[in-house]
Symmetry: C2
Subunit: 327 residues, 2 copies
């Protein structure tokens, strides 16, 4: 069979295109694992924010202070941030993994078709070659030569009858006729075969190779798209992630320690005056000396300690409102 | 004791400043947990890139093709990306956790000092109050009155001797003198105490409260800095992360399917001609018919199948070099 290395050629194309599809499959798997990492990262960030978020009423009280409030803002921003990481994971999954998987199915099918077309064309050509009856022609021609030699031998045999000679000649003639018919058949088959061989090498296989090359080049372009999507998916949410980070900075710079001092004073100021001097208790001026200690406490100085108490709040001049000690 | 609610006041400041320190501690713990999440995220990304990176020589061969090479570039970029996430974690740890922990130790110590100063001042004042000898004065004055009444009673007693009367009068006089001395002591102590009370309310505690307020306001500002660092740390590496993402896009657009086709052709082209027509083998022209099949193969068409073979490479016109089928 003349093209003994043909199977090598198919093997090379088969292997090369298979390697291409394997890379697509590998890339899909890679992106899928990346989305799992993103999901787990986002989940951990969400759990972190949940863990530190305030919920109780005591804690809501604390959140009136700017340092507590800003921390809660930061947690909210980080929670949004986690949401963006989830979005990255989801968009990678649907935009890359799902789409490329669909594409991979299609191109696998297409490759199978091209390779099977090539196989079929090759088998047709092989089959035509097998039908070339050069062997039969050779065999018939040998028979004819043998019959001709036999006829010549019979003719020169002194013992042979004329009938024998005639019979041998007729036989030789018949065999030669058959051999010539075989030769004509073989010539016709050969012409047909060479036409097919030309079709195979100049049209069919060219077309199939072009198709496979086109398929392979499309696959590379499509995979390259998938590569770009890998970063585009993340770059698309970068402005929102930047906003989350800005939000955290804003929360950080929103704390106001002076205002927190005012709030603390507002919540706890007593409004009571500083105690006045303890007065002299002059037992010599007709005050009945007491037997118990109670009356020893000077009644006019029995006052809540300044500045803390929840009752009897008093408004103070503004200039004092920002200092714990000056309410 | 006149300032019965003083302990409430200390409790309020004590609790308020403790809540402030707790928030710093809580924030440090929060950032530490965030760094652990970043570290684990980075580690997972690194493992992912390692898993998909090519190392074998067969794989290096594949990497000459642009789609494989770009994938390796993407893995490298993602590995750099992971490095940036590690940097975020490290910078958060050293820039926020370590620094704030040091700061927290300092401010805890400072708070302890202020609160103990307040306690000491309070205890001093309490101690001065306890030394006010109004009880002794009352007791002495009662004794003196009793002695005076006793003297009067003795004087009007018809059975009393002159000596009894004189003794009682002397006793009453002595007690009254003692009581008056007590009164003078008490008056001096009271003057001293009122001076101390004034110092306590108008100077000492004002200073201590101002110190605590200042400490608290510094704490809030420092914590706010820590808040801003939380996003700044990440924002600082954002340009490099953006570069990694750009690098991935670049890798994606670097694939060149036409060049890959050329490379594939270069690596596998045979250089052999298409087989020519199978020639007619005319056994009638004195060719000895063969007994074996081997000589049936036309010798001139025994050729490696076009276009693949590793030997006998031939240079072809450039116009053909980009099509698999036209080498």
């Amino acid at each position: 069979f003349p093209w003994g290395c043909k199977m090598d050629q198919y093997d090379v194309i088969d292997k090369h295109t298979q390697t291409g599809l394997d890379l697509v499959e590998r890339y899909i798997k890679f992106v899928k694992e990346r989305t799992e990492i993103e999901q787990s990262y986002a989940k951990q960030l969400r759990n972190l924010t949940k863990k530190y978020a305030k919920r109780g009423s005591k804690e809501e009280q604390e959140c009136k202070y700017s340092d507590h409030a800003s921390f809660q803002d930061i947690l909210n921003e980080l929670n949004d941030y986690a949401g963006q990481r989830e979005l990255i994971a989801e968009n990678m999954m649907t935009g890359i993994c799902v789409e490329l998987t669909k594409y991979l199915q299609d191109i696998k099918q297409e490759r199978k078709t091209h390779l099977s077309d090539a196989k079929k064309a090759q088998q047709n050509l092989e089959s035509s070659f097998k039908h070339l009856e050069s062997k039969r022609f050779a065999k018939e021609w040998a028979e004819a030569e043998k019959a001709t030699q036999q006829a010549e031998k019979t003719e020169s045999d002194l013992n042979a009858t004329k009938l024998d000679v005639e019979k041998a000649k007729q036989h030789a003639h018949a065999r030669t006729h058959t051999a010539e018919e075989c030769r004509n058949d073989y010539a016709a088959q050969l012409q047909k075969y060479n036409k097919e061989q030309n079709l195979f090498y100049y049209t069919e296989i060219v077309q199939i190779f072009n198709n496979l090359q086109d398929m392979e080049e499309r696959r590379i372009r499509r995979l390259a798209e998938g590569y770009c999507q890998f970063s585009d998916t993340e770059r698309k949410v970068m402005p929102i992630i930047s906003k989350c980070l800005e939000g955290i900075s804003t929360a950080g710079s929103k704390t106001n320690e002076k205002q927190d001092s005012v709030l603390f004073i507002e919540q706890h100021k007593s409004g009571f005056e500083r105690p006045s001097d303890v007065e002299f208790e002059d037992y010599t001026q007709g005050i009945k000396p007491a037997s118990s200690d109670s009356s020893l406490n000077p009644p006019r100085v029995r006052t809540k300690l300044w500045p803390f108490s929840k009752k009897n709040k008093v408004n103070y001049p503004h200039c004092y409102s920002r200092a714990w000690a000056n309410i």
